[in-house]
């Protein structure tokens, strides 16, 4: 689970260096150069740790720490400085500083102390909250004993999901992830990969655009040559694959034919968007896959069930995009903007969230993403023009009619095409 860190240093270069260090260690970072602004931001956001400079023009690090500790005394603080007397260091520690680091920094010690302080704070927090009941609550963060990044796991649904995946990590041959459209299956599978420490573990990703026997064999054998002892083949959007690809997926999962004797362990992860029973009735999932997928099946929670996570996921996306765009600073969400994101239904799940954050950053919102900016982008996505809305509505209805007819005709696309008096290719395209 990624933790969030607030960095305060009036020296922009050093601030940027600290930001890079923490971001590369996979923390979610908010970097600020002004202590007054930092106090305000700290009050609005839940941080797991604060790193502050000691010598700043407006106020000292000690004064800043006192100000924020009044509000949330449980959040650990690390102080960095160019030079400090031993007496000052002792004084700072007695006032509650969790660690003092002098420049030039020992990065490893800094990150090690960060991990210790956060773990310590969480332990204290967990004890004072009466321990493990948190996982079921929507508004509380769950402490997982393993890394999980695709969901921040601050809500009950995502924490249970992560724990279920972890409990199934040693699945023998197949694992199925079933969710709504727009889920971030690839990130989830990357999390599963992170459950294993061994380098001999390899994950290979396939989708309708890239999945033939030759491609699969070539990648599996390449992984074997590189030392992989177990290869997990992830089938993304299985329901959109054609019949031959689904047959191939079944053979791969059962280690049959060309996949039978490759001298390494082969496993499969099936990722499907939609109701599996409906997909089965529509003929988009065949009997073999339907049964194979029942062995170890996990429901992926939609974002609307993880509203607490949404704010953190949005900030993670901002950090990622800012890094890609090489922005000087990473914009942060105003609390009201974050609340707006939490309340949104996100019917398109992660894809919709990602598209929305991209749209916000495309318009360069500055250092703070305000409620007004977030609202206008969400409105633009929802509203469109009346004509576009109606077109979208009719298109959805059309697909629903085709799916219903297909189910009633036993999933036979030829019969369905005949029923509507159209081409089979058109039915195939609509059903995808």
């Amino acid at each position: 689970m990624p933790f969030s860190v607030l960095i305060l240093d009036d020296d922009a270069d050093f601030n940027s260096l600290l930001t890079d260090i923490f971001e590369q260690a996979d923390y979610i970072v908010t970097s600020i150069t002004d202590p007054i602004e930092a106090i305000e931001v700290f009050g609005e956001t839940d941080y797991d740790l604060v790193v502050t400079d000691h010598r700043m023009p407006e106020m000292s690090g000690a004064e800043f720490m006192k100000a924020i500790k009044k509000d949330k005394p449980e959040v650990p603080v690390i102080m960095v400085s160019g030079y400090l007397e031993n007496d000052t260091i002792r004084e700072l520690i007695s006032e509650g500083v969790g660690g003092v680091f002098l420049k030039p920094l020992n990065i490893f010690s800094l990150l090690e102390r960060t991990t210790e302080l956060i773990a310590e704070a969480k332990r204290v927090d967990s004890c004072s909250n009466g321990n493990s009941e948190d996982v079921g609550g929507e508004d509380t963060g769950a402490q997982l004993g393993f890394n999980f990044r695709s969901y921040p796991c601050k809500s009950g649904a995502s924490a249970s999901f992560a724990e279920r995946l972890y409990s199934l990590r040693n699945f023998k041959s197949t694992l199925s992830l079933i969710g709504e459209s727009g889920m971030h299956y690839r990130s989830i599978c990357e999390d599963i990969r992170e459950f294993y420490e061994s380098d001999a573990e390899r994950f290979i990703y396939f989708s309708a655009d890239f999945f033939t026997q030759e491609e699969a064999l070539s990648l599996i054998l390449k992984a074997k040559q590189e030392g992989a002892q177990r290869v997990t083949c992830v089938m993304l959007e299985l329901e959109t694959m054609d019949v031959s690809q689904k047959t191939l997926a079944t053979k791969l999962a059962k280690n049959e034919d060309a996949f039978g004797d490759l001298g390494l362990v082969l496993r499969s992860v099936f990722c499907v968007s939609g109701d599996l029973d409906l997909l089965f009735d529509e003929g988009l999932i065949d009997e073999n896959l339907y049964i194979l997928m029942g062995t170890a099946e996990v429901r992926v929670p939609p974002l609307r069930e993880c509203s607490v996570d949404v704010g953190v996921m949005a900030q993670q996306l901002v950090v990622k995009i800012a890094r890609e765009k090489s922005l000087a600073s990473v914009p942060r969400f105003e609390r009201s903007a974050r609340d707006l994101f939490r309340q949104h239904s996100w019917d398109g799940n992660f894809d919709e969230l990602s598209a929305t954050v991209h749209k916000i950053l495309r318009d360069n919102p500055g250092d703070v993403i305000t409620y007004a900016v977030a609202k206008s982008v969400l409105n633009a996505s929802e509203g469109a023009s009346p004509r576009t809305r109606f077109e979208s509505h009719l298109s959805t209805q059309q697909v629903n009619y085709i799916r219903a007819a297909s189910i009633l005709l036993g999933g036979d696309h030829v019969k369905t095409a005949r029923f509507f008096g159209t081409e089979v290719a058109l039915i195939d395209a609509r059903m995808k």
Binding site: L168, F171, K172, S173, T174, K254, D277, F280, D281, E287, N288, Y290, I291, L292, G294, T295, A296, E297
Partner: protein, 170 residues
Amino acid sequence: MQEHRALILRSNRFLGSSLVDKGLVSTSALEEANGKFMEAIQSSDLKRASILSTLLFDLKTMEEDKLLDYLVDELKLGLVDLNFMELSSLRPMNVDLSLCWASSTVPFDYVEGTYMLATCYYMSAPVIKYWEELLDGRLIWYGTTISSLSRALERIEEIHETEDAAAEDE
């Protein structure tokens, strides 16, 4: 039986998942049972296509007693031994015997608008739903063993054959 193929697939899939979820069977045992189940389905031997009997009798990776204990203790279900029940034809209820084989379930009595059903697949939601939609009336469910159910269905088959022979004689 072929007309119940989808129900067989669905009910067995759900049963397998439920058994794993409740810790009554391991994932690897279910994987193996699924394989054997699909072999039976593909050979059109639908009467043999049961994940439960595969787990109990072929793979011996599950004990029926534990399943029955779970039904009684956790799901508060009563049990019935059909060997001690007087059975009659299913025809007055408009129930197809092949459906009973397909869903490992049999309505064994009907009293004042209430059907008594015995099943080995109580943990499979599609089975319960299917019968609830099929029968017009109140349903009281009982758990039973596979051998008790199989013997009961064979006895009902004999009753139907006797009925058919009598009809031919007339």
